[in-house]
Every structure is written in C-alpha cells, then in structure tokens.
Subunit: 219 residues, 2 copies
C-alpha cells in the first residue's frame, strides 16, 4: 500500500520539479524576484506580507494558497498588494501548492513592472517543503511561540529554505523560549541558513527583511 503511494508521488514530483525550474527561469528573465513563504498556520506569513505591502517601496504581488477561504488574499489586497488566490479545496484539500498551479495563476496576473512576487504557501510545515514551486528563495517562518525543537522535528522545510524568519519577537519576554537553542537547532539542520528576527506587529527587525529584498531584487 505504502509502496504504491510513493511510486505515484515520485512521478508527480518529477513533473512538478521540471515546471518549477522553467518558472524560475521565466521570472528571472522578466526581472521578477520570486519568494515562497512557508510555515505552520498562524506563524505570521500574512502579517509579514501586510506589513511588507504597507512599508516596502516596490511593486509587489502575491499568490495566496489556502485550502478554503480568501481571507488572507483579502487582508493583503487591502494592504495594497496585487493578490491572487488558489484554493486547493476543489483538488481534494491539498496541503501544498504545486508549480503547475503557480504557472496557471501567473497567466491571470498582470506581471508588468512587478518587482517581487510572493507565494504564501498553505499553512503547513511538512508538505509544502516537498514541492518546489519555482521560487528563487524559499523562506520559512517560525514564530517565537512554537518552541525551540521545531527545526529538528520538521527538518525538510528548513533544509529546503535559505532564509528563516523568527516572527512575533514582541512576545519573547512572555515566553520561556531559549532563542540561542532555537538558532542552534536551525543551524544544525541547515548550517547555511540566513536567520532574521522580527515582529510585524511592533515593526522591530523589519528593516533587515526589507534589506534582504532590496539586495536580491532582479530589476
């Protein structure tokens, strides 16, 4: 039973990865930086995008992945970013986005003058990491409330990302979090990881995120 599932999965992954590579090239040629945000539900992906829409100087677009609802796309559109929603509910409630869906979404979005395209992946620390969506950077978010052990328990999301954003730092003084241990655990699964710490709520550390975006812009 298990064997069969994995067999099918591999075939899907190969098709997905090929299209992801193509997407990465297409967007590079267009001068659009493509960033894929991954995390658990409630780690602060939408809040980060809202704050980025309001405070970062550039033309930004987002493809929102959700199983149900358009709540997040609405929040980000309200903050001023071009928003496009993919709901996976009709596809069996899939817990990740695939490159083919991103490609279809891009046919619906006016990409003229866009500086940065974000994907807000489905809130899940497991499946999205298995599917390359064609981004130039995978960014994994982890909130201070989630505990030090998560990089060890969900290594793939951290291994397949080049930036880790520790969010909700405004809550740190109310938590027992050992920040050094958390960072050590991140480095243990991915020694090359760039780690940013910030709070979308009080704005602390947002400047480092904006600096990262500016340094990596393609146009």
């Amino acid at each position: 039973m298990q064997e069969k599932e994995i067999k099918v999965m591999k075939k899907i992954l190969a098709t997905n990865d090929k299209m992801a590579m193509e997407l990465r090239e297409i967007l590079k040629k267009k001068g659009i930086l493509f960033i894929n945000l991954m995390s658990s539900p409630g780690s602060g992906k939408t809040s980060l995008l809202e704050s980025t829409a309001k405070n970062y100087n550039g033309k930004l677009a987002v493809i929102e992945g959700d199983i149900e609802t358009t709540l997040d796309a609405q929040r980000i559109a309200n903050a001023g970013m071009i928003s496009y929603q993919i709901n996976t509910g009709p596809f069996g409630g899939d817990c990740h986005l695939e490159s083919g869906w991103i490609k279809s979404a891009l046919e619906e979005i006016d990409l003229n003058d866009i500086d940065i395209l974000f994907v807000e992946n489905i809130g899940n620390l497991v499946c999205p990491a298995e599917f390359d969506v064609g981004a130039h950077f995978n960014v994994v978010l982890l909130s201070t409330t989630e505990g030090e052990d998560k990089p060890l328990k969900y290594p793939l999301a951290f291994q397949n990302s080049s930036v880790c954003i520790i969010t909700k730092t405004d809550l740190m003084s109310y938590l027992d979090l050992n920040l050094k241990q958390l960072k050590d655990n991140i480095k243990k699964v991915n020694p090359k990881m760039k780690i940013l710490e910030l709070s979308s709520k009080d704005g602390k550390g947002m400047e480092n995120w904006f600096k990262f975006l500016t340094e990596n812009k393609l146009s």
Copy 2:
C-alpha cells in the same frame, strides 16, 4: 496527474478507515479510551500530555507521531506516561498517522490496565484530519497565538473533531486575540464542538480537561 493521485488516495483511505473501525471496537472491548490529538506544530500537544501525565490519576499511554526525532516521546516518558514512537521519516516523511501503524504500535505496547491511550498526531492541521486512526474522540488543539481565522481556513480538522482545546490561555493578555470571534468561528464549522480553554503552563482550566477524560473513561 491530479486525478491519478486522488484515485490512489481513495483506495488508501478505504483501507485505513476499515482498520480504524476495527481498532475502535477492539479498544472499546478492552475498556481503553482512545483519544487522538491533532494540531499545528507548537500548539501545545506535548505540553498538554506532560501536564496530564503529572496531574491526572490513571494509567496512561501515548503513541507519538513524528517525522523525525523522539524528542516528544522522551518528554512524555519523563513525565511518567508509557510512550511509543512512530517516526514517519522512513515512509517518505508522511504528514499524518494511519490506523495500520497504530495497530502495529499496539502490538508492542503492554495494554494491561491502561485507562487511556493517546495518539499525539504529527504537527499538522491538514493531513491528519483526513486519516481516521480509530480514536473514540478526535481532539483538535489551537493555541491563542494562532489567530481567530484558523477554524475557517482548516475546517476539516475542526469538522472531524468533537473537542477543541484552546491552549496557551496564559498568553492571552499579550495578544490581540478576539476569543469570542475564535469560538464563533469554531462553532461555524462545527456547531456541536465542545470547547475547552486551558494553559498547561499555569494549570488554569486543566480541571475541565481532566473532567472530560474521567466522564468518558470506559473502565
């Protein structure tokens, strides 16, 4: 591509559900209450089990589901509960547990005199809800830090559970959480849901969880 995946998935689900029904009956006959805990990573499943192990009067066992590591099983074993670990890493990093794996795990655990068997499912608000593990109660945890919208965005986990535990209530005064809105959203996707509020850290509300366990014990 998509169609193929769903076809395989349905077959797996049918096999899984049949074994889950059998498990539910077997454990009922043995007088063992079987509870499946589901939530995002970091919502407090392990902390709830630790606190239950220390403060609830009864013989308890847990089957721990993780992709990697035995960190949680160790924490709970240290707190005094019989612990058994399933790591899904070797099965392709599956993001959920299946009833067949629970059945195999039960062959390794001494079930004599056990009052309550817990499953701590893999930290994920999507996939575990799709797989019946044979529990008498599915319990979904949601921490106060995760936001009011999660029941609407991940409805299946809430529809397939009969109890929702709102955790980390000790942090409430530092958050902008609208608790009434959160509860309304829970009731919107599952009007029959029993909602408990508690903090494993300061112990507030734990008595309601223990009352629920005692009321539903089978022996």
